[in-house]
């Protein structure tokens, strides 16, 4: 479904993700846990490119959604200004060396030391664009297949609950108002909030908002759902109602990736636990194995604190 290859993410000097890879298969319920600041949310947000990874690739099914990595293409590196400069220097230093070897050595040097800069001239840009167009799917299309639920709900404040749910299907899937409304009412029935269809988000409790946010994403018939700490902003008494909706969704066979602090949910629903710390995945195991027998010292320490 989604595969993430060797993702790095820097915010200025702060490096949040340091080489994370992960493959999410259809039907899996992957739960990402770890201490605060370990990069869990950033990792999740990289999956639908709400954060652009500094380096690395994200694939949705067969489609690449991140910009093409120039380091994977020799001809792109050769078009860069950095290459031309270093190549000239290399030839000057080693006049006996034949051109092919010189080229290869310089390319390796650039790859090893990560020397490509942001601006590498128009020739380089042209090549990047060409490749980008060939392999890359528009992120907006990919996102239609990826539902996302946020910690802060992020319901559209200027629209009613019904409009919140029908906006995207009507605009993107070209559904008629009747079709979209019918589907929306079905979904609202599922979470028991049909009577709130004409209310505005401010009139709902946190738990209700989060349930609406879940069905808003479901209205697009996504193939996978991402949850970014969906219960962290809720009053304790409302956590249950949201988790129930998520459990029901899991039982229906939806592929899910959940960042959460709810260990009970992770144990019960998860099919795979990813334990992250300091921008890396330290451990990857089924929940029974992870919770009874964590391998790394860091995971043991974390579990002793939260369980």
């Amino acid at each position: 479904m989604i595969s993430v290859k060797n993702i790095y993410k820097n915010f200025g000097d702060l490096s949040v993700l340091k080489g994370v890879s992960c493959e999410i298969e259809k039907g899996e319920k992957v739960v990402i846990i770890g201490p605060s600041g370990s990069g869990k949310s950033t990792f999740l947000r990289c999956m639908n490119l709400l954060e652009n990874p500094t380096y690395g690739e994200v694939w949705v099914d067969e489609d690449l959604v991140t910009p093409v990595d120039p380091y994977l293409h020799f001809d792109i590196i050769e078009a860069s200004k950095t290459f031309k400069k270093l190549f000239a220097e290399y030839i000057a230093e080693n006049p006996d060396c034949d051109e092919e070897t010189a080229k290869f050595n310089v390319i390796m040097l650039i790859k090893e030391k990560d020397l490509l800069k942001k601006h590498e001239g128009s020739e380089y840009n042209k090549l990047m664009k060409k490749i980008y167009k060939q392999n890359v799917i528009d992120i907006n299309l990919a996102r239609q297949r990826i539902g996302m639920v946020f910690q802060q709900f992020n319901l559209f404040n200027n629209l009613t609950i019904l409009e919140n749910i029908t906006l995207a299907p009507m605009r993107l899937l070209k559904k008629s108002r009747e079709e979209a409304n019918e589907k929306a009412f079905q979904l609202l029935d599922r979470i028991g909030l049909r009577d709130k269809a004409d209310a505005y988000p401010q009139q709902l409790s946190g738990g209700q908002k989060q349930r609406v946010a879940i069905v808003r994403a479901l209205a697009m018939d996504p193939e996978i759902m991402l949850f970014d700490e969906p219960t962290s902003a809720l009053d304790p008494e409302m956590v249950g109602e949201v988790l129930d909706v998520m459990k029901e969704l899991a039982e229906s066979g939806m592929t899910m990736v959940v960042v959460t602090h709810e260990m009970g949910f992770a144990k019960e629903v998860g099919t795979r636990i990813l334990f992250m710390d300091d921008g890396k995945i330290l451990e990857e195991a089924p929940p029974t194995e992870f919770f009874s027998n964590p391998k790394t010292a860091r995971a043991q320490e974390f579990l002793s604190k939260v369980l």
Binding site: L141, A142, N158, Y200, Q202
Partner: protein, 234 residues
């Protein structure tokens, strides 16, 4: 002349001599310039505000940003009268476009208020929770449609009081359009005053009319705000 004769001579000029047609025309023009100016201003202002907040990651967006910065600096850096004079006596003659003074006034008022509205609108857009944009994008909506469907409506609601202020300013600023020969309220009452060299009553009348118009506008804005706040009720 005592006050009652002043009133008599004013009424004589206004009604018997037919100056009321000029007052009505002036009233109409004042509102026309302010309303159309504001509408043009909102369109231009929203456009510029969006240009200012989109990520500057392409040549086009950076170029547009530069242009709008210059535009805002130009129109905020000179008085409205100067802009009117330059528009009427320099810009349009140079472009060899023949337009009447009223049209020039509307265009210049629109351009001027666009510069101010852009700053108001920008602050409104920035006041909307970034999570709203993220939620729209995460559903697969484009930047542009999230902006127009979600962000701008919420921004407008946040800035409505300030936008109302801008409209009131525009109504009052119309009093300078007679510099380029357009008939407005001020121009009409000045005409009555000069008919019998008696300015006291006409100018008091003029002040009262401006005041009334602005009171009505303020009430209208309050009402609109209340309706837009419908989504805030708990």
């Amino acid at each position: 002349m005592d006050f009652s004769t002043k009133i008599d001579s004013f009424l004589y000029a206004l009604i018997d001599k037919g100056a009321y047609t000029k007052v009505l025309l002036g009233f109409k023009n004042t509102l026309l310039i302010a309303v159309l100016g504001l509408i043009i201003g909102i369109v231009i202002g929203t456009l510029i505000a969006v240009i200012k907040v989109v990520p500057k990651n392409s040549f086009v967006s950076r170029g547009l940003d530069k242009i709008s910065t210059v535009y805002v600096a130009l129109f905020r850096g000179t008085p409205m009268v100067v802009q009117l004079l330059l528009g009427y006596f320099v810009l349009f003659p140079l472009l060899e476009i023949k337009v009447d003074s009223l049209t020039v006034c509307i265009i210049i008022f629109g351009l001027n208020s666009g510069a101010y509205v852009s700053e108001i609108m920008r602050s409104g857009i920035l006041s909307v929770d970034p999570g709203q944009m993220e939620a729209g994008r995460a559903l697969g909506l484009t930047y542009a449609s999230t902006m127009m469907k979600i962000i701008v409506p919420q921004a407008v609601k946040n800035i409505l009081p300030t936008l109302g202020n801008e409209f009131i300013t525009l109504v009052k600023e119309t009093s300078v359009v007679s510099f380029v020969g357009a008939v407005d309220l001020y121009n009409a009452f000045k005409y009555i005053g000069s008919a019998n060299y008696e300015y006291m009553v006409p100018y008091i009348c003029m002040a009262i009319i401006y005041m009334l118009v602005i009171l009505i506008i303020s009430a209208g804005i309050k009402l609109m705000e209340k309706r837009l706040r419908a989504s805030d009720k708990r």
